[in-house]
Amino acid sequence: MIHFVLLISRQGKVRLTKWYSPYPQKERTKVIRELSGLILPRGPKLCNFVEWRGFKVVYRRYASLYFCMCINQDDNELEILEIIHHYVEILDRYFGSVCELDLIFNFHKAYYILDELLIAGELQESSKKTVARHIAAQDSLVETAKEQASSLSNIIAEATK
């Protein structure tokens, strides 16, 4: 099971956090600080796993961003690397060659996509296409609602003129 997902920038800024196990607020900040200190200084040739508090943290660097997932001792580390890559590919497809700025300004989108990929710390979908389809469908629901609202308000605005 994945206990949490973290996206940290090279400078140690948090870009996304998702907690599937209960960590109190204070603990979360501490965890992030500890892990940044552990992961960011590691050289590029080293393995992508660090052992931490009896768990394992699998991380992978994409440009300036570190994607980290914390798992149990006996979980499959190599699979988590694949899951991270899976997520990144979906983000890439959604944003069109994703960069850190996309994730900063559209952080909620990154969360929506993650929610289509993982629930309760377990993988939900192995097809990138399916995830993309569901996200697109929900985005269009939001768009229609917005249009309706604006057209309604237009109608009212016109009516009250």
Binding site: V14, R15, L16, T17, K18, W19, Y20, P22, Y23, P24, Q25, T29, K45, L46, C47, N48, F49, V50, E51, N76, E77, L78, E79, L81, E82, I83, H86, I104, F105, F107, H108, Y111, Y112, D115, I119, A120, E122, L123, Q124, E125, S126, S127, K128, K129, T130, H134, A137, Q138, L141, V142, A145, K146
Partner: protein, 874 residues
């Protein structure tokens, strides 16, 4: 419309935060935004709730408090439109966690959304429930989720499956309700549903043996077939990763098979073929393929024995181990750890490669490899393995040395075939990384050395040689100093010379040089210096020709600012100087320390002693015991085990000594005593050492037991009080001769001090506090209170803190409590000592206000009270 909230868009806020150059600037921007959002919240602004929530999430991510937005999430979830619900649920998952009470309020909204006609809204509710559901919510909403497992849309079915996992993790009792619907998911064709269904079944098996039995009987063949079809499936672009169709599903199926096969021969047989196929056919050149192989090996290792498959699996691990990719090597080491219980012979074959991994530049790999080497060691390979590890110790990085040293010591202790080898290896470790060696380890080395009577000479000569080259290793120096003190004569006379040794000539003054250098070394700490002093004392008798020189060194410490050293120097120089006739008896060799008893103690069978030897050394009352640390402490305790020496008798002994102090027959008595109790050399040493030293010292009033010498006695009180164990009343016999000494000063202390009845100082429905009183002899103003706390409820208390306040005419001193946890239902208590000095003694009686804080069931509790029922005359 609210003039504040209409302000900035989310995008603009993020931009302005990113534009901030300093943290203060950022805080200012965030404060402004938060103020605007709060205003919008209090005005119940609906138009911008969506935007405000998004802003709050961003602010939350930066680490600022955002609790005021929690209710907004709930309102947003309750509103009818999809966009509002979408952001509301996101906020719920981000801003809240499962322990917050607010979460209970959302249960009803989730329930309604689970029954919504729009499947995406149902999906949102399921996702939120799966991520943050608490045990109560799990119970309330389980029927809804169970129904959704059969929903027509696969998107909902897969979400419901994962949601169920969360529910049964929170409430395992609910597992049985889900077995049938979970089993039906295994027949699905849709990958997402199948993936989550298999995961759900695996989790069900973990919490319910009934489920495990059911799946074993009904589903094993089905799952094997699914995996077979998947492994043989043609290219499927939607699920393809590096030429493999859906590795995620592969891995989950293998994991499920592992759970099913474990402990069941028939089921294991059933999956042999497919496991062999996956293990041989999967392409190992990409990460995805390796992930599958890794999982497959794990399954083969866990299911019931099949020799052929195991060989296959170990071979895969061997290939992994020689892979250039660090990730692959890491998982190989990880898996070999599990394989070792199955087939240690096969793992031994890879020993050389594993040993190379201990020297890897990657800390994660080093750590794994070291653990693996540690379990690989046995009697037959301990010598070469230890040699490799010690060789590596020389070049290893400092941060790795602690771990490595601990493991080497542990290996050497556990598997050493003979004592001489043990001593050799330990000395090597000490000279390479002595400062990383734990106290117990070098204590054990001394114990072993004393037991190997034929190796005394060898050990002391080796140590002498090593100190010349590695004199900067403090622990090595300590052991060397101890051995030179004990066996100095063997060093000089080359007693017990072994054939393999290189001849060495050491003069008496060379030996003293070593100790003198050690004591004068700048970096030596208190323990080392004190050990040096004892060694010098011993050498003064072993080498009479050097005794003048030795005394010169000892005398320098008479002026030491450290009380411990000063006292010791005074005592020892008196012995060297004035009591030559008894000196040799005094400093005889230490009696052999019993190895079995020592290791038993280390294992914790006598926790009190362990804590003494590990605790802060400065608090140990018995100076001499402290110097040579644990082995000597043990000696003291040994004596108390064998010969009962209760504190009173120790006191008598001291009183005897004091009584004869002025008579010329002092030395004779001493020797008699010393001879009588062979094991008590140390006690004797101390008791003999102390009284003359003090009678010679510049404060003769200390000896006279008059009441007006209060100041001197106060000094002694202060000396003794920090060293008194917190438990207080019954001090262990060996450990507090200082206390005995004090008792010795006061004439018949028990008779003089009136006894006071104990009182129940405070009682509530949850807690009882009793006070026991005692007076310090010769000081009527001071009362020592021993407070005992006991717990009347069925929950243990943690973080227990007792505080007390007194009026100005009283002075209060609180010693540390014996513990900060209080076991439930009176199964133990905490005791704490208080010392109260009443400046109006005889006029006013004691009064005290108390406050007790603790945590029960993680809730902070606070109790307060006033105590007026102190006995009169305190």
């Amino acid at each position: 419309m609210n003039p504040f909230s209409s302000g900035t868009r989310l995008r603009d806020m993020i931009r302005s935060i990113r534009g901030c150059k300093t943290a203060a600037e950022e805080r200012a921007v965030v404060r402004k935004e938060c103020a605007a959002i709060r205003a919008a919240v209090s005005e119940n602004d609906q138009d911008y709730r969506h935007r405000n929530l998004a802003k709050l999430m961003f602010i939350h991510m930066l680490g600022y408090p955002t609790h005021f937005g929690q209710m907004e999430c709930l309102k947003s979830i309750a509103s009818p439109g999809f966009p509002e619900k979408r952001i509301g649920y996101l906020g719920l998952m981000l801003l809240l966690d499962e322990r917050q009470e607010v979460l209970m309020l959302v249960t009803n909204s989730i329930k309604q959304d689970l029954n919504h006609t729009n499947q995406y809204i149902v999906g949102l509710a399921l996702c939120a429930l799966g991520n943050i559901c608490s045990a109560e919510m799990a119970r309330d909403l389980a029927p809804e989720v169970e129904r959704l497992l059969q929903f027509r849309d696969p998107n909902i079915r897969k979400k419901a499956a994962l949601c169920t996992i969360r529910i049964i993790r929170k409430v395992p009792d609910l597992a049985e309700n889900f077995i049938n619907s979970a089993a039906s998911l295994l027949k699905e064709k849709h990958h997402g549903v199948l993936l989550t269904g298999v995961q759900l079944c695996t989790d069900l098996c973990k919490v319910s043996s009934e489920a495990l039995e059911y799946f074993r009987k009904k589903c094993t063949e089905g799952v094997v077939k699914v995996l077979k079809d998947l492994a043989n499936s043609p290219y499927a672009p939607e699920y393809d990763i590096a030429g493999i169709t859906d590795p995620f599903l592969h891995i989950r199926l293998l994991k499920f098979l592992r759970v099913l096969g474990q402990g069941d021969v028939d089921t294991s047989d059933c999956m042999n073929d497919i496991l062999a196929q996956v293990a041989t056919k999967t392409e190992p050149n990409k990460n995805a393929g390796n992930a599958i192989l890794y999982e497959c090996v794990a399954t083969i290792m866990s299911i019931e024995d099949n020799g052929g498959l195991r060989v296959l699996a170990i071979n895969i691990l061997g290939r992994f181990l020689s892979n250039r990719d660090n990730n692959i090597r890491y998982v190989a080491l990880n898996m070999l750890m599990r394989a070792i219980t199955v087939d240690s012979q096969a793992v031994q074959r890879h020993r050389a490669t594993i040993l190379e991994c201990v020297k890897d530049s990657d800390a994660s790999i080093r750590k794994r490899a070291l653990e693996l080497v540690y379990v690989l060691v046995n009697e037959s390979n301990v010598k070469p393995l230890t040699k490799e590890l010690i060789d590596y110790l020389e070049v290893s990085e400092p941060e790795f040395r602690g771990d490595l040293t601990a493991k080497i010591c542990s290996i050497v202790e556990k598997f050493s075939p003979e004592k001489i080898w043990y001593i050799d290896q330990m000395l090597k470790v000490l000279s390479e990384a002595g400062n990383y060696v734990k106290d117990e380890v070098w204590h054990a080395l001394i114990v072993v050395t004393t037991n190997a009577s034929n190796l005394h000479g060898y050990a002391v000569r080796s140590l002498y040689r090593l100190v010349q080259t590695a004199g900067d290793q403090e622990i090595l120096v300590r052991v060397a100093v101890w051995c030179i003190g004990e066996y100095g004569d063997m060093l000089v006379n080359n007693t017990g010379f072994l054939d393999m040794e290189e001849p060495i000539t050491v003069t008496e003054s060379d030996a003293v040089d070593v100790v003198e250098t050690a004591i004068k070394r700048h970096s030596s700490d208190l323990t080392s210096r004190a050990m040096c002093l004892v060694a010098l004392l011993k050498l003064s008798s072993r080498f009479p020709s050097c005794s003048v020189r030795i005394n010169d060194v000892i005398v320098q410490y008479k002026g030491s600012l450290v009380l411990e050293l000063q006292q010791r120097a005074l005592e020892f120089s008196a012995i060297v100087d004035k009591h030559r006739n008894i000196r040799s008896t005094l400093v005889e060799r230490m009696p052999v320390l019993d190895e079995a008893t020592y290791s038993g103690r280390r294992a914790g069978s006598v926790p009190a002693v362990v804590s003494t030897s590990q605790g802060a050394p400065i608090n140990l009352p018995n100076g001499v015991a402290k110097t040579t640390s644990a082995p000597l402490v043990d000696l003291l305790d040994l004596s108390s085990d064998d010969v009962p020496v209760p504190s009173s008798s120790g006191g008598d002994f001291l009183q005897d000594l004091l009584g004869v102090d002025l008579s010329p027959s002092l030395s004779q008595t001493d020797t008699n005593q010393a001879q009588k109790r062979g094991t008590d050399v140390l006690l004797d040493l101390l008791s003999i050492g102390t009284p003359p030293a003090q009678s010679n010292s510049s404060i003769p009033e200390m000896v006279s037991p008059s009441d007006d010498s209060k100041s001197a006695i106060n000094v002694l009180e202060q000396l003794s009080s920090p060293s008194a164990p917190a438990g207080g009343v019954s001090t262990p016999p060996g450990s507090s001769p200082m206390m005995d000494l004090l008792d010795g000063f006061a004439p018949k202390p028990e008779n003089n001090v009136p006894a006071y009845p104990s009182i129940v100082a405070f009682e509530s429905s949850t807690l009882q506090v009793t006070f026991n009183f005692s007076k310090q002899p010769g000081n009527q103003q001071t009362t020592i209170i021993e407070a005992n706390f006991s717990n009347k409820t069925f929950d243990a208390y943690t973080d227990f803190i007792f505080q007390a306040a007194v009026p100005k005419f009283l002075q209060l001193h609180l010693d540390p409590a014996s513990s900060d946890t209080l076991p439930a239902s009176g199964n133990g208590s905490i005791s704490q000592k208080l010392r109260i000095t009443n400046s109006q003694h005889g006029k006013k009686s004691l009064v005290m206000r108390i406050r007790i804080g603790y945590k029960s069931n993680n809730k902070d509790m606070l109790e307060e009270g006033q105590i007026n029922n102190f006995p009169r005359g305190l």
